[in-house]
Symmetry: C2
Subunit: 618 residues, 2 copies
């Protein structure tokens, strides 16, 4: 039953060997087993004798979870709400994907949001903030595939706006402004491309490819401006002072193959100075490209960006809850780089060198990806190749750095190392991306699950693990299966969210809300207005002519919480759900003559099956 | 926090009052509270002092579930695999829906299955059988919306065929042949329509509408024949002897409004005699309509169908694991009707009247919908309006029926009544649809969940409840949240399924499997053949001309279990996943010039982010 870790690591090493010298060096480390190395030579042995969390994770019938978890669904294109610690999936929010259950991608309202693009790749979901804490107004999430940002209203828990972002490709890292409140949302272009990227400018010369750091207006959902860079940009973060956005870059080389991207020993952390961006905008120091203001942020072209050298192909960047440090994970280097945010202004003003902002580079493990926090001064880093979560103390790492190489070798910063199952990507602790990080639960979002669940065929689910971090040691308490793909998440205290969540829509927010059913015809354009009250639609039949252009508008006039109705039209490939007081519409061509029943798909009443009506098309 | 049952019942009563006298009578019953009535007047009180199950339901990290649960996803259009008793969702299998995570509805292979129809409404999933037990070869599931049947291969756990069924509308009940093996699959037309249903024959006269009972060849996935009926047909079942299919009909009235459908006190259970169907086919007693053989099964037109009168608007029909009884749930009548299958041949031959096949009609509760079994002679019926699961003894109900009205009033058949949360539809016990029903777990698939989980907005999840039925009393042990819509399920012992499930594809089952990458051009038709081996695609770049008609074929050449790759093409709305040794393809028009990166969306390696390639379109 046990996963063959050795052969898997060998596999990774062999594959690595074929693509570049960088990964071969890491393979040697693997052979020793990084976990044993760390624990065998440090105070961590003592720490493993420390306390273990005893929190209850079994949420019994009738009990509620303590946290809302908001999950990006990766290439499912959706966002999910999970309860923590139960790990129950409470909702799928379709974002960039078609979702026939709710009718997202089917109704006119959702088609206007999606503009014909039903694929997406949601990587990072972050909430809007006020003074370093979520204000429970919005969630924002990126689409890496089609380069869009979507906004989710947290009162209805559904997408209300999507903005297309031009000039950018492989839109990856996304983060929201944390202070004083979320006016800006930043997102990164991971893939460098020509700017603009059209046949006139297209070139296969990667030296003329650029990465783009974009700033979105959170309320208007418009692009404020973009910063054009030589570097690619991967993950994103903002500080707690409202002064900077920050990103990692793993392709400072402008490589287009794996080995080219691995060439440099150092890549970079990039810091964007928001005051200087505002000044550049005021001074009209930008070009308009594809309708947006593009500021030249390349080295030597502006003073907006600070470049801090970071080894090697770094991935995650996460700011500590006290706002003091940004920690970059090395990915191809087995370390994390701790950057002191208070030093950034000194570096921007030239008083110190960018690299002097780094106050520690502790050894973590093989393939460190992301770091999260418990609010007690400890960091937790996901380590992909080792398949571990490593708990380490930030101050101890900084202290050891000051004391020099011999002290560092003791790895006294390491508190515990937990094997996870398997190959972890993001990890996130409860409230960790706020100043109220509470150190209760840690979620490890793992990419492989083989042997942890019943076998469901070649395409397996992923494995999320729930870890109690209230003690000194990490305690694995629950394996949770999840569909493609638990990319990233935030864990938000229940009291912050539940006060804003509504049970019904404001009916007249939708300009077409129906309170009286009827049919209107203008030539071959027919509008069918339907109320839905359990267990009847407002009309029993509608007569249409073949070729009619038909719009059906349905309003759920039932007030009772949780009482949704579906509207499905047989053979017309139409289905959607209207929740209490919600209105949705569809438009279709009546091209199939005959009798076609429309029926309620969402169980609403003992006579739900009888809730149907005829469309007679002659 | 508690659900306001009284106001909800009042709501149902009031809504009911507006649509027909039938439901008003039930409202009076509601006021007394059916549960108290039952328990206050029967031996059930003694039974409630009986044993309570003590099974472990907490599946800890590293442990596996004991059962595979196969769930129809309702109007999500999908099928799901859950582990029981953990209730973890292990897989979503896209069936009639677009699923951008896996690329179902995106790839050429899946588009050929879906034929442009990306909506569906999966109601009933049943496995193929051999001698009354699942053979773990196939699952079959219906699409109520677009009238299709899909088949899922259980070795890969994915759809391999979909058959369109003509002449039928609102395809609802589906069941598979249980003996000697599954050659036939039956499915019902719930909505009566003209046959054929075209402008020439269309009429708004419901007297000329018909229901259709369809028989599908399980291997060929073709329609064997259809039986045309005056009645509509709701749920379906087959016996354990390979002789009959059975359905309920709630609209013997041919009504088109709720009140018309409620007019008759008795509707029907319909029994189809398979030997007589085979004879009719041999004797060419059918008409070809829309390419399929349609046998006239209307009353007086054939001897194929037995009509057993059943009160009132019955819904579920389920056969006991010993094969002796088919039990129909009354829906608008508060009873179940127990039909003895051994008597059916006597009724078919005219020796007894159809109604004499009914051996008991025990009182159950308000709105009985579906019945399942523990293999120990007990039935469990879901009761929608009461929001209960009722456990009752079949033999006691039959005995009381023989003893007369006074004995029946004692309701001695009732063993326990469990409140569920809320408004249950289907219920299913472990292995209950096989001759090896084991009476361990019961799943209650409930349609309302308000207050049982954190509030997620106007559109709430559903609530499935896991109940330990190993003791005399029903013991609720877990509330599980689930997305639209947990319609129905089967619970299958792990040992039956896991031996057939594969970890990788047979690579050369796909005629286009790629082992060597390359580009072929014929005029503007370009074929791009790509291997995917972590962390590289077989080509670094592909040059295309604007307007090219491009087919990309990707084979995952990685053998390691669980190592999938994604292929996403920026701005082209293309994403799919290939599992080990799987091949998929997409075809697109190269209409957007510029540099477009394709990237791996499915985390595969420490250098997963670097697994990408360029499409340069000039």
């Amino acid at each position: 039953m046990s996963f063959d870790r050795r052969s898997f690591l060998k596999y990774l090493g062999v594959a690595g060997a074929s693509v570049g010298a960088g990964i071969v060096a890491l393979e040697n480390v693997t052979k020793d087993g990084i976990k044993n190395t760390l624990l065998g030579t440090s105070e961590a042995q003592a720490d493993t004798k420390g306390s273990v969390g005893t929190q209850n994770y079994d949420v019994k019938p009738g009990e509620l979870d303590s946290y809302y978890g908001f999950w990006s669904g990766g290439h499912s294109g959706e966002v999910r709400i999970l309860g923590v610690p139960s790990m129950r999936e409470l909702k799928r929010i379709p974002v960039f994907n078609m979702d026939v259950g709710s009718g997202y991608g089917v109704t006119n309202e959702s088609k206007a949001l999606l503009k014909g693009r039903f694929c997406g790749d949601t990587h990072h979901v972050h909430g809007s903030y006020k003074d370093g804490i979520y204000d429970a107004k919005y969630l924002f999430v990126n689409d890496k595939l089609n380069n869009r940002v979507a906004r989710i209203r947290m009162d209805y828990m559904e997408v209300d706006k999507i903005v297309d972002v031009p000039n950018i490709q492989g839109m990856h890292g996304l983060f929201t402004q944390r202070f004083p409140k979320t006016d800006w949302v930043v997102c990164n272009g991971e893939f460098q491309v020509p700017v603009p990227n059209s046949s006139a400018t297209s070139t296969d010369a990667p030296s003329k490819y650029y990465g783009i750091h974009s700033i979105i207006d959170a309320e208007k959902m418009e692009v404020v401006c973009q910063i054009m860079m030589d570097e690619n940009m991967d993950l994103a973060a903002t500080d707690y002072g409202g002064k900077y956005s920050m990103t990692t870059s793993y392709n400072t080389e402008k490589g287009v193959t794996v080995s080219e991207m691995l060439a440099n020993d150092n890549d970079a952390m990039l810091v964007f100075n928001w005051e200087r961006i505002r000044k550049a905008l005021s001074a009209n120091n930008y070009k308009m490209i594809n309708g947006v203001k593009v500021i030249d942020g390349r080295e030597g072209k502006s003073d907006i960006v600070l470049r801090i050298p970071i080894p090697k192909n770094p991935h995650g960047i996460n700011v500590t809850p006290d706002g003091k440090y940004a920690i970059c994970s090395g990915k191809v280097a087995p370390i994390c780089s701790v950057v002191e945010i208070a030093k950034l202004d000194e570096a921007f003003s030239g008083k110190i060198k960018p690299k002097d902002c780094i106050v520690a580079q502790p050894y973590i493990g093989l393939g460190p990806l992301h770091t999260t926090y418990d609010g007690r001064g400890n960091a937790y880093t996901s380590v992909f190749i080792d398949s571990t979560n490593v708990k380490w103390n930030i101050q101890k790492a900084i202290d050891a750095e000051k004391l020099g190489a011999e002290e560092k070798k003791k790895n006294a910063h390491i508190i515990d190392v937990l094997d996870i199952h398997y190959q972890v990507g993001h990890i996130m602790a409860s409230m960790a991306e706020t100043k109220e990080a509470d150190g209760k639960w840690l979620i490890s979002l793992n990419k492989f699950s083989k042997d942890r669940f019943l076998n469901v065929g070649p395409a397996k689910n992923e494995c999320e693990q729930l870890i109690d971090i209230s003690g000194e040691k990490l305690k694995l308490v629950h394996d949770s299966a999840i569909y493609i793909e638990p990319h990233d998440c935030i864990i938000v205290r229940r009291d912050i969210v539940e006060k804003v969540v509504k049970d019904r829509y404001n009916m007249f927010e939708h300009p077409l809300a129906v309170t009286k059913s009827g049919v209107e015809r203008k030539g071959n354009k027919v509008t069918v207005k339907l109320t839905a009250n359990a267990p009847v639609f407002g009309l029993q039949e509608v007569k249409l002519k073949k070729g009619d252009d038909v719009t059906v508008i349905v309003t759920n006039n039932d007030e009772i919480s949780d009482l949704g109705h579906g509207f499905a039209l047989s053979n017309y490939n139409i289905n959607f759900v209207v929740s209490p007081f919600q209105t949705k519409s569809v438009t279709f061509k009546a091209d199939k003559p005959g009798v076609h029943w429309a029926y309620c798909t969402n169980f609403c009443h003992a006579l739900h099956l009888e809730m149907r009506m005829r469309f007679i098309i002659t």
